[in-house]
Every structure is written in C-alpha cells, then in structure tokens.
C-alpha cells in the first residue's frame, strides 16, 4: 500500500477501453497475468472437451471390450481422425487439468492468506505454478506418445 502512495513513481501509461487488436498485442503481461488468463483458457478447453472426457470415462470403464475400443481410438484412430490427434486432445486435457489444478490451488491459497496477496508472492507463485504444470505436462505427454 505504501508503495502505491509514494509520489516518486514514474507515470505509467493508462489503458481504458482496450482495443483487442491494438492494445492487447503490445500489452506486457506479468507472470501472474499469464497464469490468470491460462486459468481461464484451460477451463474453457476442459468445458469444450467435456464430452470427450465422459466418453473416455465411459469406454475405459464399462467393460473390457469397450476398454479395447478406448485404446484403439488412440492407437489406430476414431471417427476418421488419426490416433495422434486424439492423443493431442488428451494432451490438451492433461495440460489444462494440471494448469487449472495448480493455478486453482494458488487462488485458494490467496483466498485464505492475506500474506499471499502481495506483488512479490503473486510473481513467485505464478512462476511456481508454471514450473509445476509445464514439466509435468511434458513428462505425461512423453508417456502418452510412447517416448519412454
């Protein structure tokens, strides 16, 4: 708070009525802003792919025969789309879930602790969120595509 009140701060450009094409392209987003917008984006991805999630739940769990169909979709394709595209959709879900999960924990922590709502913590926790979600996505994605 004291930092905001000090008069020596240089004048920052003000953004009002942001133009999506003119201002957003030059807007320098902080790590916390990236984590925030990716939290939304990952939520939308999971919303749109939700029927695919339920389909995976359905075929993977209903019977051993449907479990075979479940595996076939990723190995030899389904609905005219090759298997790797379905794997890509699954990878998108893996990333979205991991990011939403970790960024959500960050939000919950900020709701519970006033100490967590500082500029410094906002920045370091944003980096921490990406440092957890991105490597985990890489590791699980490599497993999904059979790299190990």
């Amino acid at each position: 708070m004291t930092e905001l009140a000090s008069p020596q701060r240089p004048k920052r450009p003000e953004f009002r009525n942001i133009n999506a094409f003119k201002d957003l392209t030059t807007y320098r987003m902080t790590p916390a802003a990236w984590v925030s917008i990716l939290h939304r984006g990952s939520g939308v991805i999971m919303f749109i792919l939700m029927p695919f999630v339920i389909w995976m739940f359905d075929t993977s769990i209903s019977s051993e025969i449907s479990f075979g169909h479940f595996k076939d979709a990723f190995n030899s394709g389904m609905l005219g789309l090759p298997g790797f595209l379905w794997k890509l959709a699954a990878l998108a879900l893996i990333w979205a879930y991991l990011h939403h999960f970790v960024a959500g924990l960050r939000h919950l922590w900020m709701d519970l602790s006033h100490d967590a709502v500082t500029k410094e913590f906002g920045k370091s926790s944003a980096f921490a969120t990406l440092a957890v979600s991105l490597p985990l996505t890489l590791v699980l994605g490599a497993k999904l595509f059979g790299l190990y």
Binding site: R40, S60, E64, L108
Partner: protein, 121 residues
C-alpha cells in the same frame, strides 16, 4: 459504472452474492481431494495398471457416491466459471443468455451421461 438497478438491473448477472463465489471454492477443494484420492489408490495399488484396477476403483458403493458428488460439484463449478467468462467478454444480453443456456444444457448432458456410466460399472 453504468446503472445496474431497478428496471435496468442486468437479468443475466451473477445475482451479486458471495454464494457462487464460495461454492466455486468449496467444489474446487472437493475435486482436489478426489483427485488426490484416485491418484493415491492407483499409486498404492499392486499388480498391473489396466482395466481391472481402473474399473475396480469405482466398484464400491461409497466410491460411486463420492464420484457422484464430485460430478455435481464439477457441474456447479464449471457453470460459475463459464458464466464469469460470458459476463466478462459477451456484452449483448441475447447472445449472453443463449451461451448461458447452451452451457447449462451442455453440462447437464455431460453430468447425466457420467452418472449413468458410474452406475453401470
């Protein structure tokens, strides 16, 4: 701030309460616990990780009940989140209402399907 009360009050707003805000956090916490539970049951399992283990996870009635609660929690959580997004980015009332109705139907269809699968295992 534009006028948002009386006859001009937005009919597709959030109803300006703390209820949905809190519900989104409570449902999030439930889903986190559920995720950790499923992960722990897979990690501490013995034998190959395949169909038998996966279907076995959801065999017990208590797990069905818990998963049912998580599906309902997710329904509410996603509804609050999607409505927030529509309220932030979609300003025309008719379009926003259409998207909100779409989201509700989309989520109900998915939840019904998921619950049906759950009790088929």
């Amino acid at each position: 701030m534009s006028v948002n009360y009386g006859y001009k009050r937005s009919a597709v707003g959030a109803h300006y309460g703390v209820r949905d805000w809190l519900a989104q956090r409570v449902t999030a916490a439930l889903m986190v616990l559920f995720t950790l539970l499923v992960l722990a049951r897979i990690i501490f399992s013995s034998g190959p990780i395949g169909y038998d283990l996966w279907a076995g996870l959801f065999a017990a009635q208590w797990m069905k009940g818990l998963t049912f609660a998580v599906i309902i929690a997710m329904l509410y959580h996603v509804w609050v989140g999607m409505r927030n997004i529509f309220m932030d980015y979609v300003k025309p009332v008719l379009l926003r209402l259409t998207l909100q109705i779409f989201a509700i139907v989309w989520l109900l269809v998915c939840a019904g399907w998921g619950i049906q699968v759950l009790w088929r295992v």
